[in-house]
Amino acid sequence: MSNKHIDEIENQMKLANESLPEKECSLFADDRPTTVGAFNKYYEGFLNWARSRSLWMLAFGTGCGATELRPLMTSRYDMSRYGIAPRPTPRQASVFVVGGYASIKTIKRIIRSYEQMQGPKYVIALGSCTINGGMYYDSYNTINRLDYYIPVDVYIAGCMPRPEALIAGFNRLKEKIRAGECEGMNEYVEKFDWYKKNQKQIIKDWNMPDYNW
């Protein structure tokens, strides 16, 4: 392959980051995310077991449903016995609990945070609003279906779901993880352009790189 060709391919690998001002282009990474596959089956099985026993949740209340996360941490419901722990930074978290309705302004932050989490990463969507818009289905600034913007592993219906429902949701997530079904991270990469198209369609004021590393 000629050098020119390699350059072209490399350029395809790069993101355009068109919405950034020129002087900031060099301050953000412009690499395109890639899929990272699993290890061999048995080893990955072991890892998935460990992952499912140690779910680090991003403590980021994106909607009213986040209110239900607080009792989950208290003595009454005690999520720590399932190995669930809140982490203050997306870099370290593995589970993103989207707490209910997501306005356009919030979904932008959700996308940022989701992309900054290190895979394998899981999303639990909380409440009816994330499923079909819920009571905000006709609102001009609330999205209706979360799975058009980020891959969702588990939905928990309800308006709002009780902590018990949340625990049930987490347990469902654990099962899925152990079954190796939670490949949202790779899914996002594979359908990257589709997700971006959807995201950019509603987020007019993009003002961030196309992929937030």
Partner: protein, 186 residues
Amino acid sequence: MEQLIKKIKGMVHLRAYGKQRDDLHFVTVDKAQLEMILAHLKNYEGFTHLAFLQAVDLLEEGKFRLIYMLYNYSTNVNLGVNVLIDRDNAEMNSIHKLWAHGWQYQRELHELFGIDFPDSPRVHESFVLEGWEEMPPMRRDFDTLEYSNRTFYQRPGRSTNDPAEYMKEKIYKNYPAAPVIRRDNE
């Protein structure tokens, strides 16, 4: 309070006066005289606090009603000063010099109702809607459902239930009707 209303009447053209509660009154004044009366109320009558500035879309009349809600700390009285402005090319003088925080309300009104406040700081920056391109969404002629359908992806199979009926049917089917509690003030 009557005295105050009288005084206001003496000063400006008082279009309307209404009393909602003992501590909540509304007056309607002319657009041109608004600033004067607000300044007077703030400086001489003790209405030092601008509780909020809000707009009502009077689509049928082709007007916006702006409500400047003032509060007097010493007498605990709320006074809403209303002013009607034209809906087309809606524009109003800024009051950020009277109440510094007014600019924030005006920015909001500009974004959500499309009312312009020339001179108000940062009034044209986006407030909660980042990058909104349509008609200001709080105007009543904005069809939000249509917008939602057009913009967001609907999940098919959506249905709506009245929660009370639904729960009665699903959960409390076998229970006797709940006793009606009579309250004294009803």
